[in-house]
C-alpha cells in the first residue's frame, strides 16, 4: 500500500513543516506548542516504520527512490533513496526525536515553542542528510542542520554556551566547505552531482588523495575524531539535555555515515593508501581519550569523551577493511568490521542518548553536573539508579547489551588484520568499564553525600517512559542484533565489492 507514496519526502518534510507550525503556534498557550511537537514527532516516527517493514533485504539497490530534476542548470536533482546503511540511521533519528520531545516536556520553559521547533526542523534535515543521493542535496541538509543546533546550544545552553556554540558551528563549517570544493570538482569531471556517478567516476591517485582529505576534514570533525574532537566536550557540556542527546545520538553518526557513503566508495584507493592515518587516529581516540575520560569531574564531559572513544571504534571498523582483505581472510572479515561499525553507531545512539538523559534527569533536580556534588543517589532514587546503572553497563560493553555487539564485532575483525591493533582496541573494554563504573560508584552508590541528594525525588512517569523505551532498545539490540545486521548485509557486501576494485 505504501508503494506509490513518496514516503521519504513525507518523512523529511513532515517534521520541517511541523516545526514551522510549532513556531507559529508560539508560547501564548504554554502546552500548545509541545503537544503539536509531540504529535508531529510521533507521526514522523510512525511514517518511518514502513521504511523498515517494507524494506527489501535481498538487494543492495536503493529503495523508496524519488528522483526529480531540481536545478537543471547544474544537473542537481531532488534525489532521495535509502539502503541498508541509511535506513537504520533514519529510524534512529525519528525514534530519538520522540524521546527528546518527551524529555523536554516541562523542563524547558523559556521560549518552548522555538525549542521544540528547532528539534523538529533538525530532525527533518538529519533524515534528509541520510536519504539524499544527490551530493548538493546532501550538502544542503548537512549544513542546514547546523543552524537549529547552533541556536539550541546558544539559547538554552549553560554558562559558557556562546563560546561552545560558535566553536561548534565554525569547526563543522570549515570542515564542510572543503568537501564542497571536492564535490564541485567531481561535478566538473562527471557532469552530475549524483553520489552514484561519483562512485563510478575514474580518478587518479592524486585526485583521490585530495578528495579523500577534503572528505576526511568534513567527516572527522563531525564524528569527531582525535585531534579535531575538541569542540565536542564543549558543545556537550553547554548544550541543554535534548541538544546533547541529538548531538551524540545522531549528529556524530552523520560523520560515520559520510565515510561509508562518500569516502570509501568514491576514493577507495586513497582510503587504502591512507588507512594507517585513520586507524592511528581511531586507536588514539580509543586509548588516549579513554584515559582523558577517566579524569573528568563533570559527568557530561565524561560521557562526551566516552562518545569520542566509542566513535573511534566506528571509524576503526570502517577503515580496517583494507588490511583484513589484504591479510587473506577475504570479505567475510571485512564485512564483519563494517557491520560492527554500523551496529556500534546505532547502539551508541541509544546508549549515549540515554546517558545524557540520565545526567539531564539529575541536573534538573540538582542543577549540577559535577560528580563531586553527588553520592548515594541510589538511596533516594532507586528506580532511576537501576536505569542509570544499566545504561552504564551498556556503555562499558556488557554482553547482553547493544554496546557489546558492535565492539565485539570490530575487535574480532581487527584480529584478522593485526594482533596489535586488536589489542589496543580491546583496551576499551577495560578503560570503558573503568571510567563508566567509577563514575557510577561515585554518583549512585555509597552513603548519601549531602542534604541536596537526600532531598531528591525519584523519577516521575514521564522520565520513566523515555528511559524505559531506551532501555528496551538497548536490550533488544544487544540480545538479538540480527534484524539490524540482516538489513545492512547486502549493502555492505556491495560496498566491499566496490572498494575491492581499484578505480585508477
Amino acid at each position: 500500500m505504501y508503494a506509490d507514496w513518496p514516503l521519504l519526502s513525507l518523512v523529511v518534510w513532515t517534521p520541517i513543516f511541523g516545526g514551522i507550525l510549532v513556531l507559529l503556534a508560539g508560547d501564548k498557550e504554554p502546552s500548545g506548542a509541545r503537544k503539536i511537537a509531540l504529535v508531529v514527532s510521533i507521526v514522523t516516527f510512525l511514517l518511518t516504520l514502513p521504511l523498515y517493514s517494507q524494506f527489501n533485504t535481498e538487494t543492495h539497490l536503493m529503495q523508496f527512490v524519488e528522483r526529480q530534476d531540481w536545478i537543471a542548470a547544474f544537473n542537481i536533482e531532488y534525489y532521495l533513496g535509502i539502503d541498508g546503511i541509511s535506513m537504520p540511521l533514519i529510524l534512529l533519528t525519528s525514534f530519538t526525536t520522540v524521546i527528546v520531545v518527551i524529555s523536554a516536556w516541562d523542563v524547558i520553559q523559556y521560549r518552548a515553542s522555538q525549542y521544540f521547533a528547532a528539534f523538529l526542523i533538525m530532525e527533518g534535515f538529519m533524515i534528509g542528510t541520510f536519504s539524499a543521493l544527490d551530493s548538493i542535496l546532501f550538502y544542503i541538509f548537512f549544513e542546514a542542520m547546523l543552524i537549529p543546533m547552533f541556536l539550541v546550544i546558544g539559547i538554552w545552553g549553560g554558562v559558557n554556551r556562546i563560546y561552545a556554540t560558535l566553536k561548534f558551528f565554525l569547526y563543522t563549517f570549515i570542515g564542510s566547505v572543503l568537501m564542497l570544493v571536492a564535490l564541485i570538482y567531481m561535478y566538473t569531471q562527471s557532469g552530475s552531482f549524483a553520489i552514484f556517478d561519483f562512485h563510478h567516476l575514474k580518478l587518479n591517485l592524486t585526485e583521490q588523495v585530495l578528495i579523500f582529505l577534503a572528505f576526511l576534514v568534513a567527516f572527522a570533525v563531525k564524528v569527531p575524531m582525535w585531534p579535531v574532537h575538541t569542540w565536542l566536550p564543549d558543545a556537550h557540556v553547554e548544550a541543554p539535555t535534548g541538544g546533547s542527546v541529538i548531538l551524540a545520538a545522531i549528529m556524530l553518526k552523520i560523520g560515520g555515515y559520510g565515510f561509508l557513503r562518500f569516502s570509501l566508495p568514491i576514493t577507495p584507493d586513497a582510503s587504502a593508501e591512507l588507512d594507517w592515518l585513520i586507524i592511528t587516529m581511531s586507536l588514539t581516540a580509543v586509548v588516549y581519550i579513554g584515559f582523558v575520560a577517566l579524569v573528568q569531574r563533570d559527568m557530561k564531559k565524561l560521557i562526551a569523551y566516552s562518545s569520542i572513544a566509542h566513535m573511534g571504534f566506528v571509524t576503526l571498523g570502517f577503515f580496517i577493511v583494507f588490511r583484513i582483505m589484504n591479510s587473506g581472510y577475504g570479505d567475510q572479515g571485512a564485512a564483519l568490521a563494517l557491520e560492527g561499525g554500523m551496529v556500534q553507531m546505532v547502539s551508541h545512539g541509544f546508549i549515549s542518548g540515554a546517558m545524557f538523559l540520565c545526567v539531564g534527569v539529575m541536573y534538573d533536580r540538582m542543577h549540577s553536573r559535577q560528580i563531586a556534588d553527588y553520592g548515594g543517589v541510589a538511596n533516594t532514587m532507586p528506580v532511576f539508579a537501576a536505569f542509570m546503572v544499566f545504561f552504564a553497563m551498556a556503555n562499558a560493553g556488557l554482553p547482553g547489551t547493544s554496546g557489546f555487539v558492535g565492539e565485539f564485532m570490530v575487535i574480532l575483525a581487527s584480529f584478522k588484520a593485526s594482533f596489535w591493533i586488536a589489542f589496543l582496541a580491546a583496551l576499551t573494554l577495560i578503560l570503558g568499564a573503568a571510567y563508566t563504573l567509577w563514575m557510577i560508584k561515585r554518583v549512585i552508590f555509597g552513603e548519601v553525600a549531602n542534604d541536596n541528594v537526600a532531598a531528591l525525588s525519584d523519577i516521575n512517569k514521564r522520565e520513566f517512559l523515555f528511559l524505559a523505551l531506551l532501555a528496551l532498545a538497548v536490550l533488544g539490540l544487544g540480545l538479538w542484533p540480527d534484524p539490524l545486521v540482516e538489513v545492512m548485509h547486502p549493502t555492505i557486501d556491495n560496498l566491499l565489492n566496490h572498494i575491492a576494485n581499484p578505480k585508477i
Partner: protein, 483 residues
C-alpha cells in the same frame, strides 16, 4: 560625403524616457505639495519605477537590439538588470519612509535624487560606448553625493559625502584617462568597434593597451569597492543616513556589475588574459581584507561595508573565470546579494527610531525577545550572506565556485571558501547578539512599524530562502543573458 541625420530608434530607450519624464513630473508636483501630503510623492516615485519596469518588459527584445548608432543596447542582460535595479529601488523607497520622516529628511528631493540615480544606473546598464557609460556613471554619482549629504546637520554625513565626492571624482578621472588612451589608440568610443580595433592593434601597442586597461580596471574597482580601492566604502556606509546606505549598498552594485561586463567583456574581451589576472589579485585581496577587518567592527553599518567588500571579491571571482558560466554566476550573485543587503539594512531602518539611532551591533541585543519576527528576518539575511544553505547565499557561492573550478582554478576556490569561513564568524556574531544576549533595559519597547514595510520586508527576506530552494528560474535568466 554629406552627413545624413538618421532618426535613431527610440523604442529601446523607452524605459529611460519614461523614467526621465516621470522624474521631472515628480519634481514639479512635489513643489506644490504640503509636508503632510508627502506620501503622494513617494507613491508617484514608486509608480515611476513600476512604470519603468513595465516599459522594460514591454520593449524586451528576443535578440539584442542597439540604437543611437550602436551606443545603446537592449539585450537580455539589460532587461534583467534593469528590472532588478528598479525593483530594489522600490524596496529602498518603502523601507526608508519612516526613517526619513523621523529624521526630518522626508522631502521630495530625496526621491527625485533617487530616481535620477536610478536613471543613471539604467543608462549604465544599457550603455555600449565609453561616452554613455561615463554619462550614466556621473548621473548616478552626482545624485548619490547629494543624497549622502542630505542630512546637512550631520557632520558625519557631510564628511562621508565629501570623501565620496573627492574619491569618486578621482576614480572618474582615472577611468577617463584610461578611456582617452583607448581612444587615442583605436579612434573610437563605441565598444563594438573598440573590440575589433583592440583585436587588430594588440600586437602593435601591447604596452599602451595594457596601460589603458589598468586605468579602466582601477576606475571600475573604485566604483565596485574592491581592495585596495575600497577606502571610501566603510566611511560612506557609516556616515551616510541609513536610508542612503541602504540605497548605495544595493542597486548601484547591479549597475557596477553591468559596467564591468560592458567594459571588460564586451569591449575589452581580447585583453581578458590581462584583466582576469588583475581581478584575481583584487578578488583575493577583497575577500581577505573584507572578511578579516569586518570581525573587528562594532558598528553594524561599517561591518556590512566590509562584508560588501568581501562579496565584491566573490563577484570578481565569477568575472575572472572568463566563461559565460562565470559571468552568469557573478550576475546571479550580484542580484541576490542586493536582495540580501536590502533585508539587512531594511531591518536596521525599522529599528531606527527618533532619538535612538540603532547602528551598533550591540543595539540588536535581545531582538529575539522584543521582536522575534524581525530577528528571524535578519537572521535569514545573515545566514544568506554567510552562504549557509538553504538560503540563496549558498547557491550563489556554489555557482561562482563551480565556475572557478571549471577553469581549473582549484586553489582560488579553496582560498575563497576558507575566507568565507572567516566571514561566517561575524555574521554569527550578529545572530548571537540577537538571540543569545539579553536586551538592554531601555530597549524593551516593541517596534511600531507600518504594515506595508513589514509585509515587504518579510517577503524580501523569505525570498532569500525561496530563491535558495528554487534558484532555477532566476539562474535561467542569468544564463540566458550570456548565451
Amino acid at each position: 560625403m554629406t552627413a545624413e541625420f538618421m532618426q535613431p530608434d527610440l523604442m529601446p530607450a523607452l524605459p529611460e524616457m519614461v523614467m526621465l519624464a516621470m522624474t521631472c513630473l515628480v519634481l514639479v508636483v512635489d513643489l506644490f505639495l504640503p509636508q503632510e501630503k508627502r506620501g503622494f510623492t513617494l507613491l508617484l516615485s514608486i509608480a515611476t519605477l513600476a512604470l519603468a519596469i513595465a516599459a522594460v518588459i514591454a520593449v524586451a527584445p528576443v535578440t539584442a537590439v542597439s540604437s543611437f548608432g550602436g551606443s545603446f543596447v537592449l539585450d537580455q542582460l539589460a532587461v534583467v538588470l534593469k528590472i532588478a535595479t528598479c525593483g530594489v529601488t522600490i524596496l529602498v523607497f518603502v523601507y526608508s519612509r519612516d526613517y526619513l520622516a523621523d529624521n526630518d529628511m522626508y522631502k521630495g528631493e530625496y526621491y527625485v535624487l533617487g530616481l535620477f540615480a536610478t536613471l543613471g544606473m539604467m543608462i549604465m546598464i544599457s550603455a555600449h560606448s565609453f561616452l554613455l557609460i561615463y554619462l550614466g556613471l556621473e548621473l548616478l554619482s552626482l545624485a548619490l553625493y547629494a543624497m549622502i549629504a542630505f542630512n546637512r546637520n550631520s557632520p558625519s554625513a557631510s564628511e562621508a559625502a565629501m570623501k565620496y565626492f573627492v574619491l569618486g571624482a578621482m576614480a572618474s578621472g582615472l577611468l577617463l584617462y584610461g578611456i582617452s588612451i583607448f581612444y587615442g589608440i583605436t579612434g573610437t568610443l563605441d565598444l563594438n568597434q573598440l573590440s575589433a580595433a583592440v583585436n587588430s592593434q594588440l600586437s602593435q601597442h601591447p604596452i599602451a593597451l595594457g596601460f589603458a586597461l589598468t586605468f579602466i580596471v582601477v576606475g571600475l574597482c573604485f566604483k565596485l569597492g574592491a581592495v585596495p580601492f575600497h577606502m571610501w566604502l566603510p566611511d560612506v556606509y557609516q556616515g551616510a543616513p541609513t536610508s542612503v546606505t541602504l540605497f548605495i549598498g544595493t542597486a548601484p552594485k547591479i549597475a557596477g556589475f553591468a559596467m564591468a561586463i560592458r567594459l571588460l567583456v564586451d569591449g575589452l574581451g581580447d585583453l581578458q588574459v590581462d584583466w582576469s589576472q588583475m581581478l584575481t589579485v583584487l578578488a583575493i585581496a577583497s575577500m581577505a581584507l573584507g572578511n578579516i577587518i569586518a570581525i573587528a567592527q562594532t558598528n553594524f553599518k561599517r561591518m556590512l561595508a566590509y562584508s560588501t567588500i568581501s562579496h565584491v571579491g566573490f563577484i570578481l571571482l565569477g568575472l575572472l573565470s572568463t566563461t559565460a558560466n562565470g559571468y552568469a554566476s557573478a550576475m546571479f550573485y550580484t542580484i541576490t546579494y542586493t536582495l540580501t543587503a536590502a533585508v539587512a539594512f531594511g531591518v536596521l531602518l525599522v529599528l531606527n527610531r527618533k532619538g535612538c539611532e540603532a547602528e551598533n551591533i550591540g543595539d540588536l541585543s535581545g531582538l529575539n525577545d522584543s521582536n522575534p519576527w524581525y530577528a528571524a528576518l535578519l537572521a535569514i539575511a545573515m545566514f544568506s550572506m554567510a552562504g549557509v544553505p538553504p538560503t540563496v547565499g549558498f547557491y550563489a557561492k556554489l555557482t561562482v565556485l563551480q565556475a572557478v573550478i571549471q577553469v581549473d582554478l582549484l586553489g582560488l576556490a579553496v582560498v575563497a571558501v576558507l575566507f568565507s569561513v572567516i566571514g561566517l564568524f561575524y555574521y554569527l556574531r550578529v545572530i548571537k547578539v540577537m538571540y543569545f544576549d539579553k536586551p538592554a533595559a531601555e530597549q524593551t519597547t516593541t517596534i511600531k512599524e507600518a504594515l506595508d514595510v513589514k509585509v515587504l520586508l518579510s517577503a524580501n527576506s523569505l525570498s532569500l530562502i525561496l530563491l535558495g530552494v528554487f534558484p532555477s528560474s532566476l539562474m535561467a535568466y542569468c544564463i540566458l543573458a550570456f548565451s
